[in-house]
């Protein structure tokens, strides 16, 4: 005894809109509505039709019909009242012509929702419904004012902080030159080919080619960095506050992700970790050239472990490490000349050969793996173009064999045709760079829930030249999977508070035909 659906359709049975209040399948609704005008006989002076299973109650509105579909036991008096109310409401929001109804369809659906709840008629009049639809609420107004006040305060605070930050940065640039960015974990952002020049400075420390820094410089720079970082998080938290109040995000952690997505924002994706007295950075870079059929030309993984001692009181330490299963098998390790290599090989302990010397605040371990074993590729991408007569459909697929999370995956696919691609279906997101003619397939994160994924797009023209594909991603776990178990005072074996971060990034990963 309920209204099953309320609909507006044209005289020849094209349903313009229909709102269902009971569970019905689409084909059923469409079928019922398209059969409806054919069932209207001519010369009838009543406006309901009964079929075997249902009853239509309708009212003509100029060239349209507004119609309720009900079951046959439904109370006709209720239904008529509902119908009349709807008919009164429609002109409040749209004209009686096909075009306008379609244009205002959503507004009409909203009003339908107010009139009928789960098939039962609500006792409401036109005026009430208008209030419901306009959604003007005093309470909201009040709440908003309060919020605005708070927001204003937070903004002011934020602005002040930002200014401070910029001031410091400017000082930094003057003093610290090109090393200003070292400690900020800049490996965290994904370089795009267009600005590759910017990438070099940040990657250079990990490769270990930088000569040991003059003492004063190293000491100063991290100190400054630490300060800058803390400021940065402060700024983040101010924004987080704003966002939180705006009900954008719930947790501070979400802020970074949120901010990251906004354009022109080059903040690191992984939240910067505040540095302790000893900060250990593990960085790994992945380089690979493979062919589409899966043949690996080269895979070259280079990594390094960098110790930064921020607290000058700390000098004599040892670092026990743990390594993943692949480490010994596939990687060659190289220690800093001052480190006891033998000990490291035997027991994974990084310790100075000569205990009397201070621990170097620099890269102390390097490793490398050069192989053609395709199991070392954490993310495999394949591309299957199928050229048609005048368009080419490209099926892309990725598969991640790694056991860890990959982040910020970007796959650049050159588009040989002049037209922009039409993406038919995609896991993740995509962008199209019209200038470079690149389809950028972005996957924010790959974890165990989406180890495989695909994308299909179509471009005009007949072509299969979508190579080379370049792939970028990063991760907080390295291929070598070396990790710091602890940092201990050399003599007392007491733990020292330390911080560490590890990043895996892609230097170059190209797939050729």
């Amino acid at each position: 005894m309920v209204v099953l659906a309320a609909a507006i359709c044209t005289k020849n049975g094209k349903p313009l809109l229909s709102r269902q209040f009971s569970e019905m399948t689409k084909s059923r609704v469409e079928g019922l509505l398209s059969a409806f005008p054919k069932l209207i006989g001519t010369g009838k002076q009543h406006t309901f039709i009964e079929t075997e299973n249902i009853r239509y109650v309708y009212q003509p509105l100029e060239s349209l019909y507004i119609v309720l579909i009900t079951n046959k036991n439904s109370n006709i008096l209720e239904d008529l009242e509902t119908l009349h109310l709807l008919a009164k409401l429609v002109p409040e929001y749209a004209n009686f012509d096909e075009h306008d109804i379609s244009r205002k369809a959503f507004e009409l659906v909203f009003t339908f929702d107010e009139v009928i709840a789960m098939g039962y008629k609500e006792r409401v009049n036109v005026q009430q419904i208008k209030t419901f639809i306009s959604m003007e609420s005093h309470e909201e107004e009040r709440a908003r004012k309060e919020e605005q006040m708070r927001e204003k305060e937070a903004k002011n605070e934020g602005r002040r902080k930002i200014k401070e930050l910029e001031k410091i940065r400017a000082e930094n640039i003057v003093k610290g030159g090109r090393y200003a960015g070292i400690g900020s974990g800049s490996g965290g952002y994904i370089p795009v080919p267009t600005n590759s020049s910017e990438r070099n400075p940040s990657s250079s420390p990990t490769t270990g080619y930088i000569p040991p820094q003059p003492h004063i410089n190293t000491k100063q720079a991290p100190g400054k960095e630490g300060m800058k970082l803390s400021k940065a998080t402060n700024k983040n938290s101010a924004i987080a506050q704003v966002l939180k109040e705006e009900r954008v995000v719930e947790k501070v952690e979400d802020v970074a992700a949120h901010l990251d997505s906004s354009p022109n924002q080059l903040l690191p994706t992984t939240p910067a970790i505040p540095q302790e007295g000893v900060h250990i950075t593990i960085e790994e870079e992945f380089m690979a050239l493979v062919e589409n059929d899966g043949t690996v030309d080269t895979i070259d993984i280079k990594g390094g472990l960098l110790v930064t001692i921020n607290d000058s009181n700390i000098s004599k330490i040892k670092i026990p490490t743990a390594q993943g299963p692949l480490a010994r098998k596939s990687f060659q390790f190289n220690t800093h000349p001052l480190i006891d290599k033998q000990l490291f090989v035997e027991s994974n302990l990084l310790k100075l050969k000569d205990p009397s010397r201070g621990f170097p605040s620099t890269g102390i371990l390097k490793w490398r793996c050069k192989t053609t074993d395709d199991s070392m590729i954490p993310l495999k991408v394949s591309c299957w173009p199928s050229p048609g007569r005048d368009s080419t459909t490209v099926n892309m697929e990725y598969e991640s064999l790694a056991s860890f999370e990959l982040k910020n995956i970007q796959i650049f696919i050159p588009n040989p045709s002049a037209s922009s691609p039409i993406v038919n279906n995609i896991d993740g997101l995509y962008e199209y760079n019209t200038k470079e003619k690149m389809v950028v397939w972005k996957i924010p994160m790959i974890d165990d829930t989406n180890r495989t994924g695909s994308m299909e797009f179509t471009v005009k023209g007949n072509s299969s030249n979508f190579y080379p594909l370049s792939v970028f991603f990063n991760a907080t776990t390295t291929m070598c999977d070396i990790s710091i178990k602890d940092v201990l005072y050399e003599d007392s074996n007491e733990s020292i508070r330390f911080s560490s971060e590890s990043t895996l990034s892609v230097d170059k990963y190209e797939i050729n035909n």
Binding site: V2, A7, P15, L16, L17, S18, R19, Q20, E23, M24, T25, K26, S27, R28, V29, E30, G31, S34, A35, K38, Q45, H46, F48, N53, N71, K72, N73, I76, L77, E78, L80, E81, S102, A105, F106, V109, D113, A117, M118, Y120, R123, M135, S137, E139, R142, A143, E246, R247, H258, S261, S262, P387, S420, V423, N425, G428, L429, Y430, E431, T449
Partner: protein, 922 residues
């Protein structure tokens, strides 16, 4: 739970659809553009973009890649419209992926939670309303506390939606709010708002009927003071409760009785229906019927009247006695200007006349018929016809009123509306024969009104009656002069053809009235012939009545003059019926010249006898068909038999199939178990030696066809990307593409494809299956392909007999109106005419309109009308004209007419194909 929902998504065709908006698909959606707008646009642009995204989604193009963008950039917005649109967006998107909830939905959940605590009551309310449609327990779970809190929010708008949300959560995921009934019960006790109360009550009576009953019994006395909204739902509950435990009925009957007098017509209507289902005690039925009649007379809406009348008709079926008492009240509804309503009223009246009320009924009917004389009367001639019919039938039952009725009716002989005049004359003919005491009066009246007759058929019958039943010389002379007068124009000296032309031209200009002589000169020779024979008969009667010689001779001469004139006219006429009429008139002359006693006997006596016999036969057939229709439906031996004596007393209300009704309306038909006939609908789609063997089971629902396709991998390889591509021919549309899937070696899977049908047309479904063999290194261009057999959709599945909704009149008017005709020559091995007609009716599902009594093989010729309606509302008519040849074969034609071509063609094909019956052993 997860596996269940996974199953649901795999059969995605059956997904319920909550919203449907027409959208002309233009270009394929530009994801990038949308992203741009969502990221950088203002609210207005976002609203617009989100609308379009929703439109794409509901029209089968889910832009799932936009989900994240929308979550990031639209969800934070404060814009009210955006918020509401988002609710619709959540409603329509696919929320699961491979049976698991998409991780993004957790973010959505977050924003929903915020909205449930939003200061704006309307946002809270609409969010709660959305929760009613959400079926993902993982999303609902964290929201439950907020929903509960909203039960106590100050705005009724929020509370009433919160109740509904709880109702839906509880009914789908009971474990999320196990204490919901308790909660709502307590809520109901303290709630003041009618709408909230109503919703709470709905919740209780659907989820915890005992609670609802408990509540009801505490407030039972106050029910009459409740608002109509709550009363309405209480009535519904009572109906349900009593259906379950009939012993409770006595408790509620009083309540229902009070509600019968509710000021709200809706409650009144509902109560009446409930009362009927509760009790069949005469008082209850009378109460319900009076409530209905009250609605019938006081509601101005025609729809209400029509439906109430249907209800009354139903009551009449089971409790005719009570309706007889109330018939006068029902007749008040005759004041409605709507013809359909009057028709129904008269229908009820017709069966409810008793000796007690016949006088009153006839009085009202007479009054009504008098009203129809006024020009401004708007129900028109058809209404008059209806009234005449009613009077005819009801007065034949109680002949004592005939005397007063007949003279009145005879006045309507001159009606230009053929049907009513015909009705009257047929009625008169019947009365004259059956009630000889009225004979004299009727014939006199008839003669008086003869000249006013304007319809050929009526005139024919009238002169026949006069010539047959006239029994005094005076009347006879009067009748003759009257006929002579009617034909006067023809008897004048004959003008030359040229003059005729001029005359007819000038006459056309004047705009001449329809008259009998005009009809004859226009070529109605059948009329002429029957006038001739009636005149002839008059002469013989005159002889019998011993008219004096001179007058008799004069009469004879004058009759002969008329005949000669008519014969001469017939000679010059071109009309096709002339020949037989001419012969008939010649034989009349012969009759007058040479009175042969044998012939005379035929003219005077045998005619009358055969008419008497015909009347008897009619009565016999009528009573027989009544018996037939009154017969109980055949009950299967294994079905439950209701034995009245074994049921509690008076628990015999009409079967209440409320739920079935709803389920049927929603279109969920559970056909449990396929019977053997259904197996016939399995089509083999590919060969046994194909790498993929496929067969389809075709289920035809009302407006859609579902193909259940079973796919067997016949190879030892895993087949990937198995894609089923279907193409249709005719008025069929594929609803959804079947997604690609993988089949392991020697495995079987099933796929479902649903196809929408929009008109009755023979449809063909064709298709291919393409697949890749796993592990083969071949390029994708040379895909493996299996071409499937065609599936023909049988048009008969959509055709339903329509002989109940058709009348002869409607058939004729449609027959003229419909443009498409398909003529099929009869070619059959059936040798019996009636059997052939029945066979055609059976194979095409068309109903036979021609009544049984007129179907007989005796004469060797047969004409029958058939009609059908498709479920799409298209009518199809067929006329079968067949004749038995000397060699025993049947020859003739079937003509099918329809408004649209498709159905005419496809029915024709069907008939041509199936008109032979399979011989047992050929």
């Amino acid at each position: 739970m997860a596996s269940a929902s996974a199953l649901n998504t795999s059969g995605s065709i059956e997904k319920p659809c909550t919203i449907l908006i027409h959208y002309d698909k233009g270009d394929p959606p530009q994801i990038n553009e949308f992203k741009q707008v969502f990221e950088n646009g203002n609210d207005e642009q976002k609203v617009d973009a989100l609308k379009r995204v929703i439109l794409y989604t509901i029209n089968g193009e889910p832009l799932s890649q936009l989900l994240m963008t929308i979550i990031k950039h639209v969800v934070p917005s404060r814009n009210h419209t955006l918020k509401k649109l988002l609710l619709i967006y959540w409603e329509v998107i696919e929320k699961t992926h491979l049976g698991k909830l998409k991780s993004e939905m957790i973010l959505v959940c977050n924003s929903l939670l915020n909205d449930l605590n939003h200061p704006n009551e309307f946002i809270r309310g609409s969010t709660l309303r959305f929760l009613c449609k959400l079926r993902e327990a993982e999303v609902l779970e964290p929201l439950v506390p907020a929903v509960r809190n909203n039960l106590e929010y100050r705005h009724a708008y929020v509370r009433r939606n919160a109740v509904l949300a709880i109702y839906n959560i509880y009914s789908h995921f009971e474990y999320l709010i196990p204490d919901a009934p308790e909660l709502i019960y307590n809520f109901l006790l303290v709630e003041g708002d009618a709408s909230c109360k109503r919703n709470a009550f709905i919740m209780l009576f659907n989820c915890a009927q005992d609670k609802a009953v408990e509540y009801l019994s505490t407030v039972l006395d106050q029910v009459p003071s409740f608002g109509d909204m709550l009363q309405f739902i209480i009535v519904e509950l009572i109906r349900k409760v009593c259906k379950k435990n009939p012993s409770e009925r006595s408790k509620y009957i009083k309540c229902i009785f009070t509600l019968l007098n509710s000021s709200s017509p809706a409650v009144k209507y509902e109560s009446a229906g409930t009362l009927l289902s509760l009790s069949s005690a005469p008082t209850a039925v009378r109460g319900a019927a009076s409530a209905y009649i009250d609605l019938l007379c006081n509601e101005s809406d025609n729809n209400v009247k029509m439906i109430v009348l249907d209800k009354l008709l139903e009551i009449k079926k089971n409790h005719s006695k009570i309706m007889e008492e109330l018939v006068m009240d029902i007749m008040r509804a005759l004041s409605s200007p709507n013809l359909d309503i009057c028709k129904k009223v008269l229908n009820i009246v017709l069966d409810s006349v008793t000796p007690k009320n016949i006088d009153e009924v006839i009085l009202v009917l007479k009054k009504e018929i008098n009203k129809t004389r006024f020009k401004e009367f708007d129900k028109g001639l058809e209404y008059r016809h209806l009234l005449i019919q009613t009077i005819h039938v009801s007065s034949l039952k109680y002949p004592e009123v005939l005397g007063s009725v007949i003279p009145l009716l005879i006045e309507y002989l001159g009606d230009t509306y053929k049907a009513s005049a015909t009705e009257v004359i047929i009625f008169v003919r019947e009365v004259v024969e059956t009630y000889p005491h009225l004979c004299q009066e009727i014939t006199q009246k008839l003669i008086e009104n003869l000249s006013s007759i304007k319809v050929s058929k009526v005139y024919r019958v009238a002169v026949w009656i006069i010539s047959e039943y006239v029994n005094s010389v005076q009347d006879l002379t009067f009748a003759f002069t009257s006929i002579q007068k009617d034909l006067e124009e023809l008897l004048k000296p004959k003008p030359t053809p040229e003059q005729m032309e001029i005359m007819s031209k000038s006459k056309a200009k004047v705009g001449e009235q329809i008259s009998i002589h005009k009809l004859i000169s226009d070529g109605d020779w059948f009329l002429a012939a029957s006038i001739s024979s009636s005149l002839c008969k008059l002469y013989m009667k005159a002889e019998e009545l011993q008219m004096d010689g001179a007058a008799l001779n004069k009469l004879k001469a004058e009759i002969m003059l008329i005949l000669v004139v008519l014969i001469n006219l017939a000679k010059t006429s071109q009309a096709s019926t002339t020949k037989s009429a001419y012969e008939r008139m010649i034989s009349c002359i012969q009759m007058l010249i040479d009175p042969n006693p044998a012939l005379r006997k035929i003219w005077i006596k045998d005619c009358r006898d055969s008419f008497t016999q015909y009347l008897k036969y009619l009565l016999f057939k009528q009573s027989e068909s009544k018996k037939k229709s009154g017969k109980e439906a055949i009950v299967k031996p294994n079905s439950i038999i209701n034995i009245r004596q074994l049921k509690s007393k008076r628990a015999f209300g009409p079967v209440d199939n409320d739920e079935d009704d709803l389920i049927k309306a929603v279109g969920i038909m559970n056909t449990t178990g396929k019977d053997s006939s259904e197996h016939a609908k399995i089509y083999q789609l590919s060969g046994y030696s194909d790498p993929i063997y496929a067969e389809a089971y075709v289920k035809v629902h009302q407006y859609d066809i579902v193909l259940d396709i079973s796919i067997f991998n016949q190879t030892n390889d895993t087949l990937q990307n198995v894609t089923l591509e279907l193409v249709t021919l005719g008025d069929l549309k594929i609803c959804e593409r079947v997604p690609s899937f993988t089949v392991g070696p020697r495995e079987k899977t099933t796929a479902k494809a649903s196809i929408k049908v929009s008109s009755t047309d023979n449809g063909v479904i064709m298709g291919t299956i393409t697949f890749d063999v796993a592990g083969s290194v071949s390029q994708m261009s040379d895909k493996n392909c299996v071409i499937l057999n065609e599936v023909h959709i049988d048009v008969i599945d959509y055709i339903q007999p329509a002989n109940h909704s058709y009348t002869d009149l409607l058939f004729r008017s449609h027959w003229l109106e419909f443009e498409w005709e398909n003529k099929i020559p009869v070619n059959t091995n059936i040798n019996d005419l009636v059997q052939y007609v029945q066979h055609i009716s059976k194979v095409t599902n068309m109903g036979i309109l021609t009544p049984d009594i007129e179907l007989s093989s005796e004469t060797g010729i047969l004409s029958a009308n058939l009609c059908a309606k498709s479920v799409f509302g298209e009518d199809a008519l067929a006329n079968i004209c067949i004749e038995k040849q000397i060699d025993g074969k049947i020859s003739g034609f079937i003509r099918i007419r329809a408004k649209v071509q498709g159905i005419a063609v496809s029915l024709g094909e069907k008939m041509a194909l199936k008109q032979k019956i399979a011989q047992p052993s050929a």
